[in-house]
Symmetry: C2
Subunit: 373 residues, 2 copies
Amino acid sequence: MQFAGPLALRSGASISGYTLAYETYGTLNAERSNAVLVCHALNASHHVAGVYEGQARSEGWWDNMVGPGKPLDTDRFFVIGVNNLGSCFGSTGPMHVNPANGRVYGADFPVVTVEDWVDAQAALLDALGIRTLAAVMGGSLGGMQALSWTLQYPDRVRHAVVVASAPNLTAENIAFNEVARRAIVTDPDFHGGHFYEYGVIPKRGLRIARMIGHITYLSDDVMNAKFGRILRSAVEGEVAGLDYRYSTQDIEFQIESYLRYQGDKFSEYFDANTYLLITRALDYFDPARHHGGQLSTALAQATAKFLLVSFKTDWRFSPARSREIVKALLDNRRNVSYAEIDAPHGHDAFLLDDVRYMGVVRSYFERVAKEFQ
Amino acid sequence: MQFAGPLALRSGASISGYTLAYETYGTLNAERSNAVLVCHALNASHHVAGVYEGQARSEGWWDNMVGPGKPLDTDRFFVIGVNNLGSCFGSTGPMHVNPANGRVYGADFPVVTVEDWVDAQAALLDALGIRTLAAVMGGSLGGMQALSWTLQYPDRVRHAVVVASAPNLTAENIAFNEVARRAIVTDPDFHGGHFYEYGVIPKRGLRIARMIGHITYLSDDVMNAKFGRILRSAVEGEVAGLDYRYSTQDIEFQIESYLRYQGDKFSEYFDANTYLLITRALDYFDPARHHGGQLSTALAQATAKFLLVSFKTDWRFSPARSREIVKALLDNRRNVSYAEIDAPHGHDAFLLDDVRYMGVVRSYFERVAKEFQ
């Protein structure tokens, strides 16, 4: 959908003439009261659920969660997925032309924040004629958007489902983002963010960024269970599967093969400037910042009911971070449900099937549905 | 010290005409029974203790541990530090000329393992006329060498002090190494490891490698305590210290400033091929490998007495990994002391002062000293 704008951004800049790519699933009821907005994290889009016609492998990124009869049941809810501004899956981003000067934005794309994305999502809802959300939901960075919705538009959201998220990044979280950004920015093919004009892509940097990301998405345990110290030669049936090749550059271990594959794949489709923008939005998110670091004070504005879910083996956004949000909401006597799931998969668990996790979300949305049925 | 060789390596290759840089501290007693070998980790050398004349800032990397009156007391012990083969601080490494063909080794330097280093260290002891070590000691990768000594030369080592180490790398450990290696290898200035001939250094890759390393050396807690979400502007007294600059490439957070500084500094002095070699030696170390993965079986060969030390917040080589070694030694009814130190500093703790840690090591070496006094 096209927007004339201008949309005022937290940086002081604004953006005009932008597009937001979105998809919807299910039917908006007559009262327009059953809409659920699903917010995406770093590497995802508005394509939350379902498959595109004739493309069997085009499954949405949260297709196990969203659909007919699924935990977020599209037979009951009208679900909206939006691609965020600055992303690279259809909405206006760094690879598009800046209408102000006719040049590709590149590194000049304005820095966007979680709060800016929420503003843009609100403008989309206005255009769709939806005043109030039955719920806003997201995992990881998507959870930050859901939380921010309850602070920026408290009267437009009745429930927030915040999964595997955090009230802000730790120094370690920022550190990982920074290493990934440096890998991209120092890639000679980055050309200060204007690589489009040179017909190249900073793939080396994107690969490194993705490899680092993948390590932080998985738990140590699941990595050991899945890859351990298994050698590639063992998988390929070579040399008794127990001998090293004694090479510093060949792939020796299965985990290396996995990471290189993930890095290569990612560098083929993800935009380098988008990576910088989205990781920066993560770094910046910190609702307590202008409240003297007091999250309880910051969350006093929220009136929604909440479900928070965390995963025990998630060391990126650990359960302790979700508990900070829970505590701050309880300090304000808000209605909060909280589930800590003992899944082995680390941060990735929020995208995976786990009967307890799916069960908790399903129950919660059954409760939400009762409010308008 | 020059060695004619050839030294047979685990890869099947061998190395001839090599130099090992070493330093000694204290005095070898008449019985030659008070020698302690200190093994180094990735970014260290034979310069374990003391300062070089006229260079006040040339303190050895374990100067808090080793010296007159210190936990490893050089008034009692004759301490030896050796720079490992393939390193870049004086011993023969990739930046040196291969006598076989007159060309700089570069990427052709043979892949070396922990076991190879121990063999080279044993050859040095032979040359120094030392048959038996009172103790071998090391932290992290240095601890792996200490452990390997007890397996390769059980009759030449009476005690092993293994600090913040592990019986092998986990998949996550290997993953971090692999990302660092890819950053180096894909740096256009790497030139397949023969960058010396081009008069360039793959500094971009080295910077990224070091930044990743630093994240894994520190605990999440100490990072938060030291840097948290403090902005650089706050430190510089700019713009109220609370405003973001809204830039993806400028330094916003103190943690970014710290990591960039560490990366820049490292890229000025560390050799890229050495980084590959040493991380690979880490990946390969796995004494249980040829014993069906049974560490207890592998450690049956060790006859030394052991002190193991781990640090609670070390998530790189967690206490659980040290406990694996302790258990395997106890399964063999070996004499083992074990201390788990509740220090906040993560893996880095093994290099830092902590009264409990220093006390444990001091007491242990007092006991070792009694055996020959």
